[in-house]
């Protein structure tokens, strides 16, 4: 029972492929990433233009959108809307990167909610690679654009000299802390949420094993689990939204 809440995050290798002591084994983590990719691309392919003459009603992405196409347009519109809201200067060039990050996190979160699957974003290494790569990209972008004035980033607007003496180190530290808190927030929300579910399911299970009448008390943890699943779904969506909105804010800050 001790390890049960965290047991669901173990990466198990399904097919061990060792190649001059490098481990290329197929793990469930890789499987889930491939699954997310295939679901997303098949979602797009299934509803896009298909040229076979057999189907009477010619479905194509441009004319009469079927239900699948509405979902895809909804998702891509959400990320495009976010970008145009936050980033004011030439925001069209960020659409690909932001929508890729948005869709990857959204699909791996939602797949993770299905029982017996694996959540890719509930591992620190995944969220840290995402947040650090975005952060390094933004830093390079700002310093490439503003050359040496880029350090004005650490000086909040119209602050007097003495105020700046205090604010600049704090602003510098909070700039350094951005990728850490960005990645940590997504990771810990997913990990703690799923382990909370596991712990309460554990109680429901151990309550079932009690003797005759008290095992009916199983209902209470079960109801809590149902409510928590709604919360988990909300957290999965909100966290992708927050991750992307903060990325846009940092881009807007830097550009």
């Amino acid at each position: 029972m001790l390890k049960a809440p965290l047991e669901q995050f173990q990466i198990l290798s399904l097919v061990n492929i060792k190649f001059l002591n490098l481990d290329f084994s197929i793990t469930n983590f890789l499987l889930i990433n491939i699954l997310a990719l295939t679901i997303f691309s098949s979602l797009i392919y299934l509803s896009s233009a298909r040229v076979e003459a057999s189907s009477f009603q010619k479905t194509s992405i441009y004319f009469n959108p079927n239900a699948w196409q509405k979902t895809i347009e909804g998702i891509s519109e959400a990320s495009a809307q976010l970008i145009s809201d936050i980033i004011t200067t030439d925001n069209q060039k960020y659409v690909p990167i932001i929508s890729v990050v948005f869709n990857f996190i959204l699909f791996s979160n939602l797949i993770g909610l299905i029982p017996y699957t694996f959540t890719a974003t509930s591992h620190v290494i995944v969220t840290f690679t995402l947040s650090f790569s975005i952060f390094i990209g933004i830093t390079i972008m700002t310093f490439e654009k503003y050359k040496m004035q880029g350090f004005a980033l650490f000086l909040p607007a119209n602050s007097s000299f003495f105020l700046a003496l205090i604010l600049v180190p704090i602003e510098f530290i909070s700039y350094i802390a951005r990728p850490i808190s960005l990645g940590m927030r997504l990771f810990i929300n997913l990990m703690a949420g799923h382990s909370l579910l596991k712990v309460i399911i554990g109680f429901a299970w151990s309550m079932l094993l009690l003797e005759n009448l008290t095992s009916l008390g199983l209902i209470l943890p079960m109801v809590i689990v149902v409510i928590l699943f709604g919360l988990e779904l909300g957290v999965a969506l909100i966290q992708t939204y927050v991750f992307v909105i903060l990325t846009c804010i940092y881009i807007q800050d830097g550009s």
Partner: protein, 77 residues
Amino acid sequence: MVMLPQSAKFIGAGLATIGLAGAGVGIGAVFSALVLGISRNPSLKDELFKMAILGFALTEAIALFVLMIVFLLLFAV
């Protein structure tokens, strides 16, 4: 006199329950705002009540996290 892990579990669970104080204050704040909001603009039935219940549910989530740790300490760990 050695502090056994068993007794430390009880002390830990007792200490952890203090975390529920915040959720209490939070839920109080949400419903106080609901009452003020309704008094200012009695279009109750639509959004205000819904928002207050959403706020209550999300603050309850924090309380549930605290309870999870308490049960974890008492029974699971």
